[in-house]
Symmetry: C2
Amino acid sequence: MEVVYRCSRCGFTAETSTWLWKCPRCGGPLDVVIKGLELTLGERRDMWKFSSVIPVKPLIGLGEGFTPLVRAGFLRGNTYMKLEYLNPTGSFKDRGSAVAVSKAVELGIKSVIEDSSGNAGISVAAYAAAAGIRARVYVPRDAPEGKKSLIRSLGAELIEAPSRVEAGRIAIESVKNGEAYLGHTWNPWFLQGTKTMAYELLDQLGHAPDAIVLPVSAGTLLLGLWIGFNELRSTGLISKVPRLYAVQAQGFASLYERIHGDTAGESTRIADALRVSNPPRLEQMVDAITGSGGDALVITDDEILDAWRTLLRRGFIVEPSSAIALSGYLRLLNDNYLNEDCETVIVLTGNGLKYIDIMGKI
Amino acid sequence: MEVVYRCSRCGFTAETSTWLWKCPRCGGPLDVVIKGLELTLGERRDMWKFSSVIPVKPLIGLGEGFTPLVRAGFLRGNTYMKLEYLNPTGSFKDRGSAVAVSKAVELGIKSVIEDSSGNAGISVAAYAAAAGIRARVYVPRDAPEGKKSLIRSLGAELIEAPSRVEAGRIAIESVKNGEAYLGHTWNPWFLQGTKTMAYELLDQLGHAPDAIVLPVSAGTLLLGLWIGFNELRSTGLISKVPRLYAVQAQGFASLYERIHGDTAGESTRIADALRVSNPPRLEQMVDAITGSGGDALVITDDEILDAWRTLLRRGFIVEPSSAIALSGYLRLLNDNYLNEDCETVIVLTGNGLKYIDIMGKI
């Protein structure tokens, strides 16, 4: 396997023996590109079953991936739920953190910096803890109190910023010599973790589904799926990438707006995990949507609350930001973008136990 | 497969075509006994991989079981962590609920009654929700607020009792015609779910470990492991049942006291999931400990807090009641009941995300 950094904007390439988080030439987001990809399945029961296509050694692991795929019998149609909320820290982010932190450890890095609306901060804090290295996490001041407490309990340094945008800016400015900016919205290794979900879905279903509906903010899962399914197509294991449907929260719908034009309406108050205003990989996200034949949708808080209640009343303990995927699915079904024959996977990304303190108050 | 109820006290047997929760003759706890057991591995990626030895059809499932087994590199010795907290509702209880609720559905039952210190109530509420049947859950008034809210959010009726003991008493008295008492501390089907952990450990390790250290209150996991490993021994797949070490919280150590005599000291304030005073299956629990060559231990809140912090600082997001297993392991190592060559599994039973509201306050 030959691995290089390649800039998604200007095509600049570099070796992966140093830590880069953006293109040293044009400042664009980097990809990690693998030549000579060959899939062989391993024995492990976590996402490292797909080690043969992950460009780092599995140095740090907490049991990430291999999450259940459950048929959603209560919905019309041929539909599955992918229970990513059962990852070790309660979100799909663990796939990315496991790879990015393993790479950091490989390079001898002792301190990583992250900015996050909450879940990625928890995830990076946990994997840094597992690795025995330091983590400093910048979050918006209005992130859920529980998520902030957990980041601290995991031993990370927590710094609150006035907003999500400011958290990102201050995090990047803060990076000192010997520290590495791991910011998942930029990090190219992170996507090499999230891509494992594509391999896992193929492994679980025996084929690729027709469509996947998922919550999207900075696009780390969307792009992981796009990379993974394209790798599978290039190696001939599938013939077609599933249509990817990105479901966004009102007020944080840059992908939708880039495709369909401006939106109005009050910004979400409950989908706190989806509040990213300026995803650095927006152009790549557009490619994933248009290239897969999918689309982007915007959902209101009322619809999210409805979907959240529905999922809880079926035993699926997810966070509100994840319930948005069900809202999106129902809208797509209603508007005939999906029909009942279409094999669809709804990705439930985050664990509702993180909201146990506000349950019953909403 | 031939399946009967058999009383663990008087030997009374009955067919399993009706719902029984205790012996109709002597009032003792019932077992579900299988004749003609034959293990064949299925294709599923959850605990129903072991369907061939589970005496109900997999009617209701939320992705239970198949939890990660992670090597605990930060501990001395040849030690693994079994991450049962990554079950669908955040505890090992889901193994039992999936089987017990599936059996209830098979028998056409529309309403189940549970009493619980919290986690089992959440689990039964979620599986009843998945099954589309009613659940009524009795908990002690001082159960964590978050756990109580979640039970309600899952659609169950929640009733608060003055204490854990009263919750059990009132629950049993409340059962009306057409309802079924599912109380997991009594339920024989529940143990047919928790026993799958024994099969899973064999499947994951390729052999049985030397010892297992686990939190114990009503003994549903302890007895599940004892049943499962004995089945495996009887079919010749293993030669020896692992030593089972039951770790109990101060003030709720009936198993320890039954073996070693009375204890003193303040009752636990933080191991809320372990507060069962009068486990109905105490005699069976004693058999499991002595029969396996293991032991029971009692742990103080200070030790639990230390272990909880240690686990969080390594990325394992567990609840305090689960951290007690690590406290027990360290004590056993220190007292030479375990040595570093001994292959040991520490079971981490409950998800710490349920305590996200009190993290940082303890």
